[in-house]
């Protein structure tokens, strides 16, 4: 764990966390899959949703469905209230000082593309460099490749070590006055590595670079403070943190957002339109063209409420204990090779089982009601680094238990039986 990413967790007297109560909040966890109780170990892919989130989405359509910012009637007022309310909640969740620095997006991928095309495309010049890490998700690689191609900037990549950690010396070595943007994940989706982003941000700033943090995998686990991190951009997705799909947040430093050109044109992002000249709206509306996913944003607000109603320290201690248990139990299985053993990890156990391709293991586990992800996890460079085509990835959230892990271990023994 990075000392800056969350509050310290004294293991010996960790506060109690009522996982049974949390599980009861998630209706889908009582679902049967192939006739077996669902064991959901794919939350890094997408998390399940508590009843409060499902209700908030439903309530919006039942009681508030109207367009936002556009009409004088009561329903529009309610819809706008819900939408702007979620923005304020997101600001609080990230400890952003001003809700106007919170752009509501379609999700992390949308947020990164926005920054790449709006900020990146206007500042990058031939010879400039964008610095990424070898751990990145494809969505924190490809948008930068697109803008690099458009501007003539070059992409540099910080290597990772055999544990799956960013090499800190190489990172410093690769930073230079040519580095204009550093884009790095807070937590790796493929391996669960927590990157020391606070230190990385400070080092990047010393070279005058602007830093985007991909927080998609961090948001459901860690306490995030954009002021303490001093990051320039922080992006996340609602659906990974117990909210609906199709929405998320881009936090941006106010001066940067104000100086950036619009990303997409349309309604709501303007203040005055004539065929001679259009004036753009103020931030964040300048970046929110078109009618957004209002129901999703309403649900996202409920998800933030849900997360913030929990004792985050206790929740994280619980998740860490389950991850530690999972790592130990899975490691005991003959033929297992764990991929990614970073000293600071959260939520992810990636591994291989000798003799069984991950995809086959995934099918056998699914037949037992166990949902894991198998494949490259949209992180092909990570797979290439370890010279493997794919992994089995069990990923955790607040609702997982040791019993889930016991079921996984039984399932993996069944996989071994089939492919022995």
């Amino acid at each position: 764990m990075t000392p800056t990413a969350h509050v310290p967790r004294p293991r010996s007297h960790a506060p109690a966390f009522d996982v049974a109560k949390v599980r009861a909040d998630f209706p889908i966890l009582s679902e049967l899959v192939h006739g077996k109780p669902l064991v959901y170990l794919d939350s890094a892919n997408t998390s399940q949703k508590p009843l409060s989130v499902i209700r908030a989405t439903d309530d919006y359509y039942r009681h508030a469905n109207a367009n936002i910012h556009r009409a004088t009637h009561l329903l529009s007022e309610r819809a706008t209230g819900l939408y702007e309310g979620s923005r304020k909640k997101a600001a609080k969740f990230l400890n952003a000082a001003d809700p106007h620095t919170i752009v509501l997006t379609k999700g992390t991928t949308d947020g990164i593309n926005l920054v790449a095309q709006s900020y990146g495309r206007s500042v990058l010049k031939p010879g400039d460099e964008i610095l990424l890490s070898w751990l990145e998700h494809h969505s924190n690689i490809v948008p930068w490749q697109l803008v690099a191609e458009q501007t003539g900037a070059a992409i540099k990549v910080v290597p990772i070590n055999d544990l799956g950690e960013i090499d800190p010396e190489e990172y410093v070595r690769l930073l230079s006055p040519r580095t204009k943007i550093v884009a790095v994940g807070h937590v790796s989706n493929a391996l669960g590595t927590i990157n020391p982003i606070k230190a990385m941000i400070a080092q990047a700033h010393a070279h005058g670079a602007v830093v985007l943090v991909d927080g998609a995998q961090a948001a459901p686990h860690l306490v995030i403070d954009v002021q303490d991190l001093d990051c320039d951009f922080y992006v996340l997705s609602s659906h990974k943190m117990f909210g609906p799909t199709g929405t998320g947040v881009l936090y941006g430093r106010k001066q940067l957002l104000e100086a950036m050109p619009p990303y997409q044109g349309g309604g709501d992002m303007i203040s005055n339109v004539t065929f001679e000249k259009t004036l753009y709206n103020q931030i964040p509306y300048k970046f929110e063209a078109g009618t957004p996913n209002i129901a999703g944003v309403a649900g996202f607000g409920a998800a933030i409420d849900y997360l913030m109603s929990l004792d985050r320290e206790a929740a994280l201690a619980h998740e860490d204990a389950v991850l530690e248990y999972a790592t130990a139990r899975v490691r005991e299985i003959p033929g297992v090779r764990i991929i990614g053993e970073a000293r600071h990890k959260t939520g992810v156990l990636s591994f291989l089982l000798e003799g069984a391709h991950p995809h086959d293991a995934g099918t056998v586990l699914d037949q037992q009601g166990i949902a894991v992800r198998t494949g490259q996890h949209c992180a092909q460079p990570v797979m290439d680094k370890f010279c493997i085509p794919a992994t089995i990835r069990a990923s955790l959230a607040i609702y997982n238990t040791r019993e889930d892990i016991d079921a996984l271990v039984r399932g993996l023994h069944k996989v071994r039986e089939v492919f022995a």
């Binding site: 391709h357 995809h359 086959d360 056998v364 492919f419």
Partner: protein, 157 residues
Amino acid sequence: MTELNDLYQEVILDHNRRPHNFRVIDAASAKQEGYNPLCGDRLTLYLTLDGNVIKDAAFQGSGCAISKASASLMTDAVKGKSVTEARQLFEQFHAMITSEPGTPSDDLGKLSVFAGVREFPTRIKCASLAWHTMKAAVAHPSTALRASETDAPVSTE
């Protein structure tokens, strides 16, 4: 676990462990890459053509049990067949693995072990990868060798 046993029949497990024709043909007249970006399955197919007849077929690569066994049995099946017959077999095989569960399909001999795949929609692409690759390889055998070095591999996506 009945469905699971339908999918992972002994023949499939056996071909996964000891795939047939798992080698390189140095003087192949057609060479084609196949790739399933969903799971990372990747294979290279080699064909030796004598006029319109597939004299030899072999493959190399890495993938799940279904894709490896499918490549093994496909290369067995097309050897000695004409390109037209191989294409026909592709159509029959494809129909079998994508048909509604319970519906009758052509008796494809050993290839019938893949009928269980239709119960597992997420695995159809694994079973069909080698076949798509074969279809691409025979489409332009004279250019396939050159194309495979520069063009994108055939994909099941």
